[in-house]
Structures are given as structure tokens and as C-alpha cells.
Assembly symmetry: C2
Homo-oligomer: 281 residues x 2
């Protein structure tokens, strides 16, 4: 698979690169960033953490604001930030141009409904194509891959981590949408991409996946800002807490007083998450 | 002086705020960000570091990408990021809309030439109005104020630090324009704001200020990326090095192999600069 280098820049002793490729999963060009810590120069294969971004984001938001590079450089972790949806002139968008569906809002599913089924295959992109591409072009140890994400990306991390525990050995999330089947963002997105039958949504709902018997590779870490304006209506971490308790999954759910839903919250706790993954990979 | 709060958000245990006010120096609205570390909650007065941004930036660039908050929270330092020029419909811009003059490129001078003299008074804004405003609204210890900046903002930090050593007790810069009187960016900006007579530029040229007898409060730290594409033509740190050697000023000039002019460079060395200032304030 061919990879085009958009830019590289030295950062925190390592290299921050932005790359572009023609994706077979989405049928579009896809862009992502990779931070290679200085340990990559030795030629050794290193553990890798995928970070899935939230609504409206591209790869650039966490790359600019996530404050993950210093600690990745310290611990020798590769950090990869993909985009949140296919993009391009022929990619369908929300008819009203809403922020929570369509472009920038792929919800990490394989859409089955027209017109989204043509390109919205972010599930396959993250679970299959991207790891293979990374293994081909970067010094990653595919046996040591973790996944995290924010909000919609936290939903993606949880559902992918629960569905593929053999692939994602460590799992965490920042302010995730834990039960899209039970909240407005999820009703709109899963309904639009997968159709009106809620039974089809369960494979893309972390709480439902746990109820249906899926288990992560190990413990789960979730940080949630207590002053997050989406907490009560859209995020509902108490549903994940209850599901994990019932299933015997070791969830560390930290409610962080005063924190909102922004990168000010994410960057404040990024170091903790990087350490969490590095210790498990 | 009245201050309007644009936003506040908890970050790294402290508070990141964006504020707006009607500036008497520029005759326009001016926006800046302040990070208050958690130590501010005790009511104690804390040291403060002003960061002056480079060409094309607003307060937001370093606020988003500077990675200064964790270390400021650790050391109890307040960090303030002002804008780089006056802005507004009646503020003159470069006639051709160039990035290196006019809006986003105030060069930290008091313009004397029409039409820029009406609003481009960034020197007075940074040296007089902003410190007074900060002292009125935030728990800063005005006797412990440092200054730093990047590129055009490094030029501002050096010229202000050399001109007001009693006010700016610590001084550093990232990839500064050290001698605007000798480089194209400076010729254009100082010529446009101050007129064609180079004698009038010397008060806004760090190397000329040192030649003319100005001295900083203490040592100077400068980091410069060795792969910076502006190094040879616009930045020329060797001129500052020579001037400091002649004048007996203690300059630590670190050439950083492989680093460019971007925030990837700045954020990599921000922690070192914060520690440098905190140790001297």
C-alpha cells in the first residue's frame, strides 16, 4: 500500500509525520498523523497507541492540542491519529450540514444505508486497513497495540477494543459516548448509517456489546469531566459503569471535577492515559 | 480597566481563560489568554511570564499548541499570551495582504507612519497597558515578570527585555529575529511602521540596542532550530551571539539539530524555557 508523506517535523526528540493514502476501505483518500518517538531510530519495533478523535475533528486536532508527544518520547510509544470520516467531493454528508452526522462524524461503523454505505466504512478502516498499513510503513510491534479516543472516538475505542481484544491489548477513553443506542447523538448516527432497527446498533454500542458477552483484553480506564456539558444527555458513563460491574470488567472511571469536553480536558489527562497504555503494552 | 471574559476552561489543574478589553494603547479591542496555575487559588501573588507570538499568530496559537500548562501548573507560574497586532475593520493592513506586515505582524513597535500610527502601538500595549491590566485583574506579582516569544515575538521579547530590565526580570526567546535592521522582514516592517530612516529602527533591534548600551536584567536563553528555513536570511542568531560576546552579556544560544520554525519546535523546548524563567523569578 502506497503512502504519501504530507509533512514531517522534528518534535520532542522524535518525528511528527502526516501521511495520506488511497483507502480501499473507504474508497477515498485518508490522512493520519504518526508520532515516532526517538527510540524508533534504533530500528526496534515499538508499541503503538491509536487515538480516535471526536465529532468535527480531523487527525490535526489531537496532533496540535493533545500534548502526547513528550510522554510518548519518554516511554517509547508510537501514537497514531486517524481522521473521523471519509472526505471528498463525492462523499455524502448530513443533508443539513449538521456537525454530528456525515463528514467528521463517521462514528466508526461500516454504513449499510444509502448514500453513506458507499464510503463510510470507518470500522474496517480502523480495525483492518490502518493497522496493516502501519505495520508495512512504520516500526510498530503489532502485538502491542492499544486504542483510546475522545467522545465519538471514545465510543470507537470502546467498541473496537471490546470486539477485537486480541488486537487491542489496552483500552481507555476520554469522555466516551458509552451507549449510543440510548442517546440522541447515537440514535441519529446509528440510525442514519445502519438503519432504523436498533438490533443492528448493538455491535456499535459499548454497553450493549458488554451485555452481549464481549470482553476487553484487560482493564478499561475512562476519564470524564464532571463539568462536561454533554455528560448527562449524550455520554452517560454511569451506564458503562453498571455494565462493567455486572460483567466483572475492571473499569476505572474517574470523574474529574471542573473539567469540560474540550482539549483542555483531554490534554490534562493525556499523560495518565499514555502511561496506562505503555504499562500494558 | 474593564475586562470581558470570553471563555474559561479548567486545564492541568488550573484555569485557562481568554479575555477581551478595549485597549487605550491601540484604540481597538484586544484579546489575550491567561493560564492560572492551581497555586493561584491560595490567593498568593505569583510570578508571570509574557509570551509574544510570531507572524500570523493570535493569542490562540501558543495557547493551543505551546504545551506550557503542565509545567506552569507544576511550578506555579502564570502564563499570558497577547495578540500580535491590533485588529478590526478600521485597522490598516498590508496593502497586498502579506503575512509579514500589518494584521498579525505588529512587530511590537509604536508606529509613527500613516496609516499605521493610528492603531499599531504594540510596544506601549505590551510594556505598559497589559502589565497594568494583569495586575488589576489577576494575582500576579509584578516584581516577578519575565518575557519570552517566538520569531517576531522573540524580537519583541528581546527588545522589551533589553529596554525595560527593571520590569522584565527574566528573558528568553525561541528562534527570534535578532537584528531586524539587517534582514528583509525587519526592513519591511520597521520601514513601514517607523519610516525609512534606519536610525529610528535601532530602538527596535536587539543587536543595535546592545551595541547602544542596553543590557538585560540577567542572562538570556535562546533556542534555535538548526533546520529552520528562516535561519540564514531572517533570524541570524550569530549576530546576537557576537553582540552579547562584545557586551559581556551571558547568552545561552542552543542550536537544536533537526528542528524547524513551527510549534513542533516551540513545544519541544517550552518546558526548558518555563523552568529557566521560574528559576529566575
Amino acid at each position: 500500500m502506497t503512502l504519501e508523506t504530507v509533512s514531517t517535523s522534528k518534535a520532542h526528540g522524535g518525528t511528527l509525520g502526516v501521511y495520506k493514502h488511497a483507502s480501499t476501505a473507504t474508497g477515498t483518500g485518508m490522512t493520519f498523523s504518526v508520532f515516532l518517538p526517538p527510540q524508533a531510530e534504533s530500528g526496534a519495533k515499538l508499541p503503538v497507541l491509536l487515538y480516535l478523535s471526536g465529532l468535527t475533528c480531523t487527525h490535526a486536532n489531537v496532533t496540535d492540542k493533545g500534548e502526547y508527544r513528550r510522554i510518548c518520547a519518554e516511554l517509547g510509544l508510537i501514537f497514531v491519529a486517524p481522521d473521523t470520516s471519509p472526505r471528498g467531493e463525492d462523499v455524502a454528508d448530513d443533508p443539513a450540514g449538521a456537525y454530528d452526522f456525515g463528514l467528521g462524524a463517521g462514528f466508526y461503523v461500516n454504513a449499510t444505508e444509502a448514500p453513506f454505505a458507499a464510503h463510510y466504512h470507518m470500522w474496517d478502516y480502523i480495525a483492518c486497513e490502518l493497522p496493516a498499513l502501519l505495520a508495512e510503513h512504520f516500526p510498530i510491534d503489532s502485538a502491542r497495540m492499544g486504542i483510546t479516543g475522545h467522545s465519538m472516538g471514545g465510543h470507537g475505542a470502546l467498541t473496537l477494543g471490546l470486539s477485537y481484544p486480541e488486537m487491542f491489548k489496552s483500552l481507555s477513553a476520554f469522555a466516551p459516548i458509552v451507549a449510543p443506542g440510548q442517546v440522541p447523538w447515537g440514535h441519529k448516527a446509528l440510525g442514519g448509517y445502519l438503519g432504523a432497527d436498533p438490533a443492528k446498533w448493538r455491535a456499535h454500542d459499548a454497553v450493549a456489546l458488554i451485555e452481549d458477552g464481549k470482553r476487553p483484553a484487560g482493564e478499561i480506564l475512562v476519564d470524564q469531566g464532571a463539568a462536561d456539558s454533554f455528560l448527562v444527555e449524550q455520554l452517560r458513563p454511569e451506564l458503562l459503569d453498571a455494565a462493567c460491574k455486572s460483567a466483572g470488567i475492571d473499569l476505572t472511571l474517574r470523574m474529574q471535577p471542573g473539567y469540560d469536553h474540550s482539549y483542555n480536558f483531554i490534554s490534562s489527562f493525556m499523560q495518565d492515559h499514555i502511561r496506562w497504555h505503555a504499562a500494558r503494552l
